[in-house]
Amino acid sequence: MNEQVITTFTQLAYLIASVFFILGIKKLSSPKTARSGNFFAMLGMFVAIVTTLAHKEIVDFKLILAGITIGSAVGWFVGKKIEMTAMPQMVALFNGFGGLASMLVAMAEFYIHDPKSWTFDVSTTVILSLFVGGVTFTGSIVAFAKLQELIKSSPVVFKMQQVLNGILFAVFIVASGFYLYDTTSLVSLTVILFVGLLLGVLLVIPIGGADMPVVISLLNSYSGIAAATTGFILSNSVLIISGALVGASGIILTQIMCKAMNRSLVNVIFGAVGGEALASGGKKEKRTVTNYTEEDAASILDSAQSVIIVPGYGLAVAQAQHVLQEMGKMLIAKGVSVRYAIHPVAGRMPGHMNVLLAESNVPYDLLCDLDQINEDFQNTDVVLVIGANDVINPAARTQKDSPLFGMPILNVDKAKSAIIIKRSLSPGFAGVDNELFYDKKTMMIFKDAKEGVNKIITALKEL
């Protein structure tokens, strides 16, 4: 076969791989087809890899096979062993690896080809791939360390931080200019690499633990863009297309998370709010709440016709999702209609709470997102809130001066009654008091989530 034909076939195969990726994501639109979607994506990856290995310039496979074997073993092991609660860290770490790979490819290209012959296009893409890959790599590693609590998750802020970032960015632009002028300059390239790595760290350290869902989504987007820039260097369509798909996915999830937290992206990146207590809305009059017991809760739940459960991250921290599932099942067996209302930021990353509940065998058709269920609260007898606070705070609807104002919340206050299991009256991440706790129709139970639910189960059995 002549070279032209081979090239055409290679391009066709890459196109097929891209189509498989597109179908894979399309099938994620329903939980019924999602698994086959994942297989389509795997198939796409397989086609892309095999096509690449058939590349005419690759003759010696020893090193490649060794790399694939090591990578597969590690990936397989981590993928099988990781706890579902640790999913955010894992996604952050893998994002970082993707960015690192893009960065390494750009560096390797410098040593493989003669940079003297590089056109403007090639040099530009090498710079981009190196820079975006570097930012993604260190940014993800910092996010991973924060989520894994290897370092403090609170924001690290220092004077002139923005100025420093600005200077570094200027250095990047200047070094890029120098590199485009002299494409053989290892010095300019090294400067670009280090600025990228440093910026990755500096951009993520000021972001607090509560804002991590936004950061993970954003880094997900970067890792896609890093892959696409590598595609620019190699003029490879499958890298560009799939990198763009991932980039878009990250952008959308970032938007959803920002909206759900009532923050703008600029505010998350430069605001450094997460974790710091806000002093607004601070009229602290002494108000009383009525303390109820688990037995009271059990008898109300037992006599209800409809119950909505609102889980927050406190549930996962207390590892109470399994007992909660058991309680839900008992109520369903008693003829009560039970559903779960999942706020977009209920977990530590987009959709996290759904995975945790699915793992505990809650059928997914009982898991409702905010738009699906919010109108139903007013017709619901009892809402059981566990480990959630800001996402049910009516101040988001009523108090114009509250930092929560405008945030989409679950309309727990519209239900006929509410049971809230919470350790104390302490405010949530936003540092705002919650009116709902003092409402007449609210029953507060001050307990750890797991202990509280366990006691409700015992009480339900005795009824």
Partner: protein, 97 residues
């Protein structure tokens, strides 16, 4: 393929991605992230080319080492991402046993 063709494909794919992903329900956002994470491991293709070509190039030992490392990290990204996504999607069941 020149840079402008590449950029055109990139921009159009972003729009396609936005259309596709806005149809994914919040229920599946975590698997979407880990799955798309695995897909972004497509850099593996670039890593394979870099590693393979470096092996055939004179005086490119450093390039080969960098390519080799890239292959390892990209493969972890791909395999780990798909394995964990599959594990998660297996857990999503309806009431029927």
């Amino acid at each position: 393929m020149d840079l402008i063709t590449s950029v055109s494909i990139f921009v159009l794919s972003i729009f396609l991605g936005i259309e596709l992903i806005s149809k994914v329900p919040p229920l599946l956002h975590t698997p979407l992230m880990s799955g798309s994470n695995a897909i972004s491991g497509i850099t593996l293709v670039g890593s394979l080319i870099a590693c393979g070509v470096a092996m055939e190039t004179k005086d490119a030992t450093l390039g080969a080492i960098l390519g080799f490392l890239a292959v390892i990290f990209a493969t972890i990204n791909v395999v780990g991402g798909f394995v964990v996504t599959n594990r998660m999607l297996e857990m999503f069941k309806t009431k029927k046993k």
